[in-house]
């Protein structure tokens, strides 16, 4: 009888121990590792997949041009399955086991704040390429996405000029939505308007009936939406079902980033105003050439090259420039090189790294949704990340490492 228990326990121990078998690192001596930590399954994969596609294209283009520093680039792609624990695990894996030279990853601000400390601790360079609420001040990371000062600061005055001064705000209930809604309030008030109410919704809420009634009761001139994710898309459907898409205009800081304008019908989305760095119909030679290469690689009927996907492409290109200038992939050297004012001519226009904040100076455009397409109305050149530079100066305080929640 002891034998059975013996067998059971030693079998168990063997199983447990065998998972610890040391696998060899998969990086050869003449390769440079690039880590990608994105959600490729689960609720957030609509954001993640285009980002990884663009990163793949960028790496292939670089390898076709001879690689970096004479070495080939190798992509380590981790699917975090919309699960925070996986973000932590894969960040550790990228840094410690696969020993990549840089990580491009993180989609929600929550996921960014999970992997940033891990990568910092393990001295791995980190690029966060998603638009977000601003304020991260960290010498070990670079943020290439747009921040509220760049987008909301242009969107709100444009919308208020067009529609009126009374604004109702609805936002996703996590730090992106919370902070962005504060920025909306600031810009509304700066422009002489008033905010009727700010309502927050956790990411899995799908019933907006009472909310819609509340909005109607408030009689605003416009609605500003910072809703995020697939569940929140039902707001737009229910809004249209109640016939309000035609009655009360809407501007959004997040719409179309998940290709909502393609999923929803024109009746549900036409007329929405947005403001981002990249739109597919930006009329420049770089963008035309990029689209040709992209569609050749991924097919003519790829739904839409999203803002986040372009952010990832541009983020990679910036990193590559930094490596070339530094002549090495060592984090200290690349950081110094990137801080010397590197810029690229991306498909969205010129993108420059701001040394003091590690954010980007780039073009933004206000656009309107029409018949499943996004039509650019006005472009603003080279917008600086003033929200973050108001609180963060890495030149003066290189040891600074936190996210400033900007008090508005």
């Amino acid at each position: 009888m002891d034998r059975r228990k013996f067998i059971q326990t030693s079998g168990a121990a063997a199983l447990a121990g065998s998972s610890a078998i040391l696998p060899l690192s998969a990086l050869a001596a003449d390769e440079i590792g690039v880590g990608s930590i994105h959600d490729l399954s689960g609720g957030l994969d609509i954001y993640g997949k285009p980002m990884v596609d663009c990163l793949t294209l960028a790496i292939e283009e670089q390898n076709a041009a001879g690689g970096l520093l004479g070495k080939k680039l190798k992509l380590f792609s981790y699917d975090t399955q919309s699960n925070m624990q996986m973000y932590a695990q894969f960040a550790q894996q990228a840094a410690l086991k696969d020993k990549v030279a840089v990580v491009h990853g993180g989609i929600t601000s929550a996921s960014r704040e999970v992997i940033r400390p891990v990568l910092n601790r393990n001295k791995t360079l980190y690029f966060y390429n998603t638009q977000y609420e601003g304020g991260v001040c960290d010498r070990g990371s670079f943020m290439t996405g747009v921040t509220p000062a760049q987008t909301v600061g242009k969107l709100i005055p444009y919308a208020m000029n067009k529609w009126g001064k009374k604004v109702y705000v609805i936002a996703a209930d996590y730090n992106y939505g919370q902070i962005t809604s504060q920025w909306v309030k600031k810009f509304v008030q700066d422009n002489g308007g008033s905010v009727a109410s700010i309502d927050f919704f956790p990411l899995d809420v799908t019933t907006f009936g009472p909310t819609i009634a509340k909005i109607e009761a408030a009689k605003p001139d416009m609605v500003v939406s910072a809703l995020v994710g697939g569940a929140h898309m039902s707001f737009y459907r229910q809004w249209a079902a109640a016939g309000l898409t035609k009655k009360i205009p809407l501007a959004s800081t997040t719409f179309a980033v998940g290709n909502e304008h393609i999923v929803l019908s024109p009746a549900e989305a036409d007329g929405f105003l947005l403001c981002y760095n990249y739109f597919e119909n930006i009329d420049t030679p770089e963008n035309k050439a990029f689209k040709e290469r992209f569609h050749k690689r991924f097919g003519k009927d790829y739904p839409n090259i999203t803002e986040l996907a372009m952010g990832t492409y541009q983020g990679f290109k910036l990193w590559a420039e930094g490596v070339k200038k530094a002549g090495s992939v060592e984090i200290g050297k690349v950081t110094t090189a990137l801080e010397s004012g590197i810029s690229i001519n991306g498909p969205s226009g010129k993108v420059t790294i701001d040394p003091a904040t590690h954010h980007c100076i780039l073009n933004v455009s206000v656009a309107e949704v029409k018949a499943k397409k996004l039509n650019i109305l006005q472009t603003f050149q080279q917008q600086a990340p003033t929200d973050t530079s108001a609180v963060c100066d890495l030149k003066k305080n290189p040891r600074d490492n936190q996210q400033y929640v900007i008090k508005v």
Binding site: G209, P210, A213, G230
Partner: protein, 288 residues
Amino acid sequence: MDLAIIVIIQVLYAVAGLVIVSAGLAVIFGMMKVINLAHGEFMMLGAYATITAHGLGLNLWLAMLVVAPIAVGLVGVVLERLVIRRLYGRMVDTMLATWGLSLLLVGIVTSIAGNTTVGVSAPLGSFSIGAYSVSSYTLVIIAVAVVLALAIRWVLTKTSWGLIARGTMQKPEMADALGISPGRVYSVTFAVGAALSGLAGALLAPLTGVVPTMGGAFIAKAFITVIGGGPAILAGLVSASGLFGAINQLGTFLTTPVLGEVALLFTAIVMLRLLPQGITGRFFKGSL
């Protein structure tokens, strides 16, 4: 005054929503004492069936009311034969197996359809009550819930099939002795329950985005409603939906959607503490 009407409509809508969402689970649990945790995924399959059929050109109403229930009903038959049949009487095991099935279904649909949210627009436009616009589809949901409840009652009390089903549910050995195959009755019942779940998913498709993971949002509420309702299928379903739906929606109106949810959940706990057998364990005893 307008607002009061709106609130009443929204409350009825929430109750109707719960009735439709929980009906399939109520039938399966009430008749077979099987807790089908893949219920949310049956709804998801119904929604996808609707979208696909509609995408192929079929009229939306046909896709919702005919194609979806039939498609999911067939899936239900297959799953019952393969998996559920072997686990009758083992309530905990069926819960676990159906949980596994739900993960499996999500995985399969994700592999086939990807994770992009799809959907259709809500038909029928809107109408006004004073200063408020309401979607006409809301009224459709309410109407369907009423028809559904009446239909279940009619089938179970006025048709011979209903009688056989109820008899088998109460005393399978007796039914067997009378020449009725309990296995066949269970199969059909499970299929009917699955079809109802598919119908629910189809009806909700225009209102919520259709993703492979959409089932997860409904399973908890449906589970709580059915258990809270107690042993009587219809009376339990209607009374529990009424109670929880009203509290949820009123809570949402008074505060926020989150607190409305919490109010619903909290009520469930309190109610189960006071009425451990569910509502119809104490009230409406002996009713259908």
